[in-house]
């Protein structure tokens, strides 16, 4: 589903502050895998995620989504495959627009946004049904602006928005970093549900090793721009949570 072939990313090439954020990395993520990416700050895990998402391009190497070469395809062109949840709840939603409008746009992620009014009663019912599954009581506040909601609510809605249109890949960039522990648990629980329900291929970047242990079926550990550990699902079942902590010592 996601494949990187000999991908390198260098920032500020040739200057004194040159950074090799990712070094000659090759990795294949199969359909239905839920990969958790860990690593210290500056290890290259965010670079990895951004390369897949398309907001930065590799200095060398190629990226494939579902076998298609997307190396030069900008972010908006990759929305056919990819739905994203950002670290900052503000990034994944439009605060001045209503919940309903945000969902409308999300429901057109893989399609053209045409000159037709598509927010009809049928659509409203569909969104109501989706939103009520969160049990947050937001289904009756669809006209409210996104900005009036808490970070946790917004992240939960962003997650739901990702499955409003056909999604194949879900990218979660530290989605719980800005949330309180309870909201964080709810978000990850919802993510687990949606990934299973829709058979998504998912990549979760996190600093929380407990989450890395509890969620997903494959772990990648990045360090200094390289993947230093690749734990498959069968291996993951054997390791203990304390093992993860040991990797960082």
């Amino acid at each position: 589903m996601i494949e990187l072939k000999n991908v390198s990313k260098t920032f500020n090439k040739g200057k004194a502050n040159e950074v090799n954020a990712l070094k000659n990395t090759s990795i294949k993520i199969e359909k239905g895998e839920f990969v958790v990416v860990i690593g210290e700050n500056g290890s290259g895990k965010s670079t990895f995620l951004n390369l897949v998402a398309g907001n930065i391009y590799p200095s060398e190497g190629n990226i494939y989504l579902q076998g298609e070469d997307v190396t030069k395809l900008p972010e908006f062109g990759r929305s056919r495959w990819i739905a994203r949840v950002f670290q900052n709840p503000l990034s994944g939603t439009a605060s001045e627009l209503s919940i309903l409008t945000n969902f409308r746009l999300a429901s057109l992620r893989t399609q053209r946004k045409k000159m037709v009014i598509g927010t009809n009663r049928k659509f409203v019912e569909k969104v109501k049904e989706q939103v009520s599954s969160l049990n947050m009581g937001l289904e009756n506040k669809l006209e409210q602006s996104m900005g009036s909601l808490s970070g946790g609510q917004r992240q939960a809605l962003t997650l739901l928005m990702s499955v409003m249109d056909e999604a194949k890949i879900l990218l979660l960039d530290e989605p719980t970093a800005a949330l309180d522990p309870r909201s964080a648990q709810l978000i990850l629980k919802t993510a687990d549900q949606l990934i299973t329900q829709y058979g998504l291929t998912a990549v979760l970047v996190t600093h929380n090793l407990k989450d890395a242990y509890t969620h997903g079926n494959r772990i990648l550990q990045f360090s200094e721009g390289e993947i230093i550990r690749d734990i498959s699902s069968s291996e993951k079942e054997k390791i203990q949570q304390t093992d993860l902590y040991a990797w960082f010592e």
């Binding site: 998402a53 907001n55 900008p74 972010e75 908006f76 062109g77 929305s79 056919r80 990819i82 739905a83 994203r84 950002f86 503000l90 990034s91 994944g92 939603t93 439009a94 605060s95 001045e96 627009l97 209503s98 409008t101 945000n102 409308r104 746009l105 999300a106 057109l108 992620r109 893989t110 399609q111 946004k113 045409k114 000159m115 037709v116 009014i117 598509g118 927010t119 006209e143 602006s145």
Partner: protein, 288 residues
């Protein structure tokens, strides 16, 4: 009384600029100075076409096209060449001054012996009433059209582009393209205003656009202040308030002039008035 009627009619004509600024400023968060040039461009094209005997519809199409082209150039410079939006607007505005001057051939072109829109379309015998009627119909059509457009999926994507670029990119929208289209629509509207004012005033002048962006901005700010006051989220009413803002703006200016203030100070008064409106929310906030 006639004095205020003139202000009212001018307010209606300029409300089309305000709608344009509403798109660039409120929807895209881009302070677009191209306005000063594209307004004059709209008027210049109108004056030239009408005095050459072009039909009204063709004149209008060319004026709108001119404005839209200017806007898309600003959009292109801003998004593709990564130049600050304010600077991109100033560059195009400056360039347009020369363009307008060479098109016009001189600094002022009167439209004395040509049939303008207010004469061609005559529904009511009273000239002022007829002008009012035509302007009202045009403004209403643009208001409805713009509001509907912003309700479509395309319009929603447009609004999201100005509000959360990261989100809308991830949802598959080419934000560069969207901004270019948005600035084209915005400046097309501005040129429409130039088209109307040139015919209303009966001339096109090379300097008529100076500071017009402030007039549009002021109108949008008045509309926004009222919208904030009553907590209005409907796009229909918000745009209607912008139109009302434009009329209020001209009436206030007319009132100021009627107090006997030197007409040379008009721009200064305009600037101070806009400053007053813009700072109003912050001033009252501090008191609380």
């Amino acid at each position: 009384m006639n004095f205020y009627l003139t202000a009212f009619l001018l307010g209606l004509s300029l409300s089309v600029i305000a709608m344009g600024i509403f798109i660039s400023m409120k929807i895209f968060n881009i302070p677009d100075i191209t306005t000063d040039g594209s307004y004059t461009l709209g008027a210049v094209i109108t004056a030239i076409c009408l005095s050459h005997g072009y039909p009204l519809w063709l004149t209008y199409l060319l004026a709108v096209f001119g404005g839209a082209l200017a806007g898309s150039i600003t959009g292109f410079i801003h998004t593709k060449l990564k130049i600050n939006a304010l600077l991109a607007g100033i560059l195009v505005m400056t360039a347009l001054y020369s363009v307008n001057l060479s098109l016009l051939g001189r600094s002022n072109l009167p439209l004395l012996n040509v049939r303008n829109i207010f004469q061609s379309l005559s529904f009511i015998s009273d000239i002022d009433r007829n002008t009012f009627f035509i302007l009202l119909v045009i403004t209403t059509l643009l208001w409805v059209g713009l509001s509907l457009m912003l309700k479509t999926d395309f319009g929603l994507a447009m609004r999201a582009t100005g509000n959360s670029e990261s989100m809308i990119k991830a949802l598959g929208v080419d934000t560069d393209r969207m901004k270019i289209i948005g600035l084209a629509i915005s400046n097309g509207l501005v040129a429409t205003s130039g088209f109307l004012v040139a015919q209303y005033q009966g001339f096109a002048d090379i300097n008529m656009g100076i500071g017009i962006v402030i007039v549009g901005l002021g109108s949008v700010m008045i509309g926004e202040a009222i919208s904030h006051w009553f907590n209005i989220s409907s796009i229909w009413i918000n745009i209607l308030l912008v139109i009302a803002g434009s009329i209020a703006f001209q009436v206030v200016l007319a009132f100021t002039l009627s107090l006997g203030i030197d007409a040379n100070l008009l721009k200064l008064i305009t600037a101070l008035f806009v400053l007053f409106i813009v700072s109003l929310p912050n001033l009252s906030f501090r008191k609380n």
